[in-house]
């Protein structure tokens, strides 16, 4: 009897709620600066969840999520920039010889539209790319290479069209959002709380999605795409849907990132950040929803921590961390704990048959 109460207390739902509450309570005992950093990490975690849906569950590795993150971030930044300049032309446009606001900037004068577009544009771009590639049965490493190449294309486009995007400097120096000072401590705390809530919503929505039949189909596609096709499912439709969803989530994360960091530039959406995003998922553990969150927070916390303590040689520490995880924890941090519990189960004479998971 006591055992069941104990179990109930420790049920995942309770623990997740506790983590969530702890994150919500963080502003009470963390300094503004650390809170802001944690908020940034959590924005990355949102993106990592979306990426994991695609990679961990559906088996499609994308090295191009920087694009969607970037588009979302730029959408938000464009609105903030227009708000900061107060109706006049942003400074970089004047340098580039523009005399009036270009057409594609016009919708971003309105915050609601900017926020909606920040999710919709990345989703539509993902839908377009996904439809063309998955329908033509481009998958596996070919899709990965394609996604990587797309990053290069988009970054070159953003750097090259300086009059529209601010070039390599990106967009920065924002002032207000809905009349609130974006840089003030209280607004930043609000942004942090919004990020936590969004993370919670995304997490539970994705959990709902993968717990049911739909999730089983995704895993089926990952482990045996042709079998699923012969069973009458259309894998490319499922993949396109997940890719689109993942793109939208990345855009959402990008918007939250810009609000808290106050700058977006092409360096944040390029090849290296795009690969880093995959590393967060790999390090935390693919195919679990909590893994990417742990990975994103841990890797970025390590990055900040190492670079603060050892500014000259921190890159080596970070590299070492990646090597150690890849060599000793191929399934990431959650994989380590799964292994432990599996071993215990086997000792307890487990009744269930273990099925080896394979990832493409």
């Amino acid at each position: 009897m006591q055992n069941t109460i104990y179990q109930k207390l420790l049920s995942r739902r309770v623990i997740f709620s506790l983590i969530f509450l702890l994150l919500l309570a963080a502003p009470l005992f963390m300094s503004d600066f650390r809170l802001n950093l944690l908020g940034k990490f959590l924005a990355f975690a949102i993106l990592a969840i979306g990426l994991d849906l695609l990679w961990g569950y559906t088996g499609v590795l994308s090295l191009g999520h920087g694009i969607f993150f970037g588009i979302g971030a730029y959408c938000m930044a464009m609105y903030l920039k227009l708000e900061a300049t107060g109706g006049t032309l942003p400074d970089f446009m004047a340098w580039s010889g523009m005399s009036e606001l270009p057409l594609i900037w016009l919708p971003f004068q309105y915050p609601i539209i900017a926020i909606l577009l920040g999710i919709l544009i990345p989703a539509v771009v993902a839908l377009f790319i996904g439809y063309l590639t998955f329908r033509n049965r481009i998958s596996g490493v070919y899709f990965t290479i394609l996604s990587q190449a797309l990053v290069l294309v988009v970054v070159t486009l953003f750097v090259g069209s300086q009059n529209l995007t601010g070039g390599t400097s990106g967009l920065t120096n924002f002032k207000t959002l809905f009349g609130f000072q974006v840089n003030s401590a209280s607004t930043q705390t609000a942004f942090y709380l919004i990020t936590v809530v969004v993370l919670g919503l995304v997490f539970f929505a994705c959990r709902k999605l993968i717990k049911g039949r739909f999730g089983k189909i995704l895993v089926g596609i990952r482990d045996g795409e042709n079998r699923m096709r012969f069973l009458g499912y259309n894998p490319s439709a499922y993949k396109t849907f997940i890719y689109t969803l993942s793109g939208g989530i990345a855009g959402l994360a990008g918007m939250l990132f810009v609000l808290q960091v106050g700058i977006i530039s092409p360096t944040m959406i390029g090849i290296i950040p795009s690969i880093e995003m995959v590393l967060w998922v790999a390090l935390g553990g693919r195919g679990t929803l909590i893994g990417p969150i742990i990975g994103a927070v841990l890797v970025n916390a390590a990055k900040t921590g190492f670079s603060e303590s050892y500014p000259d040689i921190w890159t080596y520490f970070l590299g070492l961390l990646f090597v150690l995880v890849v060599v000793f924890l191929p399934k990431g941090i959650t994989g380590l704990f799964e292994k432990w519990s599996d071993r215990r189960k086997k000792q307890d004479v487990s009744s269930s048959v273990e099925v080896e998971k394979s990832y493409s």
């Binding site: 300086q162 070039g167 400097s169 990106g170 360096t267 000259d312 921190w314």
Partner: protein
């Protein structure tokens, strides 16, 4: 199943410890490294954060130590640390030793913003010395303004900015570009070709040069921009050959210079045919390009390693003694160096490190820097500097051809020039 739950509980616990540790570490502002943090944490838990702590004054040093900009920024960081060390040997500032807090901007602009935030909010540094690219300065600007911090920015730039929280110790356009164009018009001819990397500085600089050439009745035969890191200049050189200008005004940045000068030489165009004047090529970059390739071409700066002042002799000797005989000094390195001294003098004058009082005290402060006497202009927080046009020698040094009579008053918005009135109006916010 239960074991997995145990795992999540463990995560929860770790998270709680992490967050508490973070907030505790923030309280212990005295600590510089983790071990020390723990010690102070236990002994003086709730000590309030003062602007200066104990016997030291913290100053931030924020440059890219990794990534593409590391090659340039590391030497500026070295010069700043040298200045801090010298000041400490001479008794420090206000009787306190300076304690540099070094951070890595990692050639990534959001990281510059994050680290500036960290230095101001957590370490509560009295000032930050840092930045190189305009993008990094623009990323740090909202941060230092929000927290009323100070930033000493050591590199020549495009002007059109005067934040009350930034001191600009590099050249404003009228201390480098405008006099260079004047000198070229007088000495090398009046048909110009503008070549630059595609970002803020070259775009803005060239907008000013266009207006100036127009005003002088000179001819602009071409204007080309290439992406940062571009290395194929054959098309551009073909255009140059067609137009045959007297002067190429070069605002390329970074590695592109290596490719451009090599290909220019390969095309058989020497400094006798067409003069290239560069504003982003100093002694450090010449090492990379190769002195024989760029020999005879011109540069415009406020300082060269060969600048003949007693202060410079001492500076070069100290710098090379500390970092190696092969190291060269250059304009941004020198600007980083004297920026530290200017700040230290302003703090002595103010008697405190309080930002508002230091800013007030800094007005009109002078220092005998290696390039000559520099003085802070109270109106725009730039410095009066001597302009120097130089020619690259075969050994990689730059010998001076001309210098301004006296230090030139900084004019970031080019207000003094009638031809620039439209320009500054459209560019200033």
């Amino acid at each position: 199943m239960r074991k997995r739950n145990f795992f999540y509980l463990l995560i929860l616990g770790l998270l709680a410890i992490f967050m508490v540790a973070c907030s505790a570490a923030d309280n212990a502002v005295n600590a510089t490294d983790p071990e020390e943090a723990e010690e102070t944490e236990t002994t003086e838990e709730s000590e309030s954060n003062e602007e200066t702590n104990g016997d030291t004054i913290k100053v931030g040093v924020l440059h890219s130590l990794s990534g593409t900009m590391a090659i340039s920024e590391t030497s500026v960081q070295q010069a700043e640390l040298l200045a801090i060390e010298e000041i400490n040997e001479n008794g420090g500032v206000l009787g306190k030793q300076l304690e540099p807090v070094v951070e890595d901007g990692a050639s990534d602009w959001p990281t510059f913003a994050e680290k500036a935030n960290k230095l101001l909010q957590q370490d509560e540094v009295a000032t930050i010395f840092g930045g190189w690219t305009s993008a990094s300065r623009k990323a740090m600007l909202p941060v230092v303004e929000e927290h009323n911090g100070l930033l000493f920015y050591p590199v020549q730039y495009e002007g059109m900015e005067d934040s009350p929280n930034i001191f600009y110790t590099g050249a404003a356009p009228n201390q480098q570009i405008v006099p260079a164009v004047d000198w070229l018009l007088e000495n090398r001819g009046d048909s110009f070709f503008l070549l630059g990397s595609d970002y803020v500085f070259p775009r803005t600089a060239n907008a000013a040069i266009r207006a100036q050439l127009d005003n002088e009745g000179a001819e602009l035969v071409g204007e080309e921009y290439t992406p940062l890191g571009h290395t194929d200049y054959n098309t551009v050189i073909a255009k140059i050959r067609n137009e045959n200008p007297d002067v190429i005004f070069n605002t390329l940045n970074g590695d592109s210079n290596v490719a451009f000068f090599k290909q220019l030489q390969d095309a058989g165009i020497t400094s006798d045919d067409i003069t290239v004047l560069s504003v982003s090529v100093a002694e450090e970059e010449i090492k990379g390009i190769g002195a024989d390739v760029i020999e005879g071409h011109l540069t415009s700066w406020n300082y060269y390693q060969t600048t003949d002042t007693p202060e410079n002799e001492e500076f070069v000797a100290n710098y090379q003694a500390k970092y190696g005989e092969d190291e060269v000094t250059a304009d941004p390195i020198e600007a980083g160096y004297f920026g530290v001294y200017l700040w230290a003098k302003a703090v002595e004058e103010a008697g405190t490190t309080d930002v508002d009082e230091v800013r007030e005290a800094a007005k009109g402060i002078s220092f005998d820097a290696p390039n000559g006497t520099v003085t802070i202009d109270g109106d725009n927080q730039h410095v009066y500097k001597t302009v120097r046009i130089g020619e690259v020698q075969s050994g990689g040094m730059i010998s001076e051809l001309w210098h301004s009579e006296e230090p030139v008053k900084p004019d970031p918005y080019l207000d003094e020039y009638d031809w620039a009135s439209d320009l500054s109006e459209s560019l200033a916010e």
